[in-house]
Amino acid sequence: MLDTDDFSTGFPAEMNRHLTAEQIQALLDGHLSDGEFADAQEHVAFCSRCHADLEAWQLLYAELGGLPEIAPSPDFAARVLEQMPAQEGAAAWRRKVRSWIAVRGRGAMEHLSPERLQDYIEGLIPARQVARIEAHLSGCRVCRSDVAVWQGLFEGLGTLQSMEPAEGFYERVMAQHRVLQLMEAWEPAAARISAFARVKRLVPRTRRAWAAVAGLAMPPLTIGSVLLFEMFSHPALTPGYLASFLSWKVTELGTALGSALMDGVVESAAAFQAYALIDFLSGSPLIAVTGTVVFAALSASAAWILYANLFHSRRTVHPYAQASS
């Protein structure tokens, strides 16, 4: 693929051939393979003739890229189509002309997209396409100005710095972590799912949550403290007297509850009717036998459950233990 117009530079024969116009254009268009691109780049680096050719082509590309957009008059396409011969295949011609006009129009006004410019600034564009972009930039004022704006934005973003959390953040996280680890270590295996896990979930994890808990606990604690202070600051009130008083009150309350229970349940009309019914049923032999059998079956089941759990328990794997192992 390289030109046969050789010259001697002391380099290998492949590199002593000048680049053809097609190769230089392919280089600028980014159409060379990686290997071809590397060869061409290396050649241009030491060959002044090809270097000059490349610069001339770059200039041409730049001038083409910088050409102002010239749009045809709105009825241009219609006028062209009107003059097309009305014969078979005319429709295909019209399509071709429309497509040609569209492509030419787009080509004249095409600037580098924002995505391409961003990738160019970030260095994400493949090396073989950079030359083409730079050729476009050297001739296109709009894209050059865009690049400057993007560069400004990138520099601005680069000035943003990491921020420090408030003093004590480290200690707070570590303290919280230690508390949770401690709770995990003491967590009784049997209570992992139920009570202990629920309590653990209730432990506040943030400063806000601690503040809320403290806020909720404060009023009852304050009121309780004031009441206790008032009570014990009275000269006639001692802890012993208060304990006797409370004991008396609790006993009185228990007695009242017991009486209410006796009056309302044990000695009620419904209870007496139930006693009479049981009395009647116990007189029937069939009922008595059935009752005895049911009682025996329930007792046997209870005994078996007790035995199975206490003396013959199988080793079970706790789901939490399985997860952590």
């Binding site: 943003l160 921020m163 953040f169």
Partner: protein, 196 residues
């Protein structure tokens, strides 16, 4: 043992064995970048500290599930980012203010939550100009969607490569590129007045 000399993966392995010092060293290394990301996402110092603290507690609690084939930084950033995005979705705190927390109720709270743009070794004029520019950029970042904001912060503040950002955000590489392109385009629009 000098924990400061160990790699993140070694520390994570020791932490999984229950070594408190390893947890401490990991926290020391990541408290600033994690807090920084979370703070810029929610723009409320107190809330950011709570979220960052919860993220660390979550990560430490799940340290045994960390897979050393991946970078520890990606793993912990992923936890912090997911936690923050969840919070933002719940609270719909998408807009932020450079002038202080939107939840500030007093002038003092507003002052305390105001974003401070750090600067070093500059003349007073440069400092003021940079502070102003930084404030404008922070303000513009605050207007982005949370996902765009994460991508921009990870790329430009933390300096992560695209593939790691994709790993942290659990998104395909192409999506991350699109997010960054769109985010920057939005920033360019928001900051257009500076270039005129």
């Amino acid at each position: 043992m000098d924990y400061a000399e160990l790699s993140d993966k070694e520390l994570a392995s020791l932490a999984a064995q229950g070594r408190q010092a390893a947890f401490g060293e990991l926290l020391r290394r990541y408290q600033r970048p994690i807090f920084s990301l979370v703070f810029r996402m929610v723009r409320d110092r107190s809330l950011a500290e709570d979220l960052a603290q919860e993220a660390f507690i979550r990560a430490f609690g799940a340290i045994r599930s960390y897979d050393p084939r991946y970078k520890f930084s990606s793993w912990i950033f992923k936890i912090a980012n997911n936690h923050t995005i969840d919070h933002l979705r719940k609270r719909k705190l998408d807009t932020v203010s450079i002038h202080g927390s939107p939840h500030a109720r007093t002038a003092r709270e507003e002052e305390e939550t105001r974003l401070v743009v750090e600067s070093g070794g500059e003349s007073p004029q440069e400092y003021v100009e940079h502070k102003e520019l930084g404030s404008q950029i922070e303000h513009a970042i605050g207007k982005l969607r949370p996902e765009y904001r994460t991508a921009i912060l990870l790329r430009h503040v933390e300096g992560y490569p695209y593939d790691e950002i994709a790993e942290i955000m659990e998104l395909p590489l192409g999506t991350v590129k699109t997010y960054l392109h769109r985010a920057r385009s939005e920033l360019k629009e928001h900051l257009a007045h500076l270039t005129q």
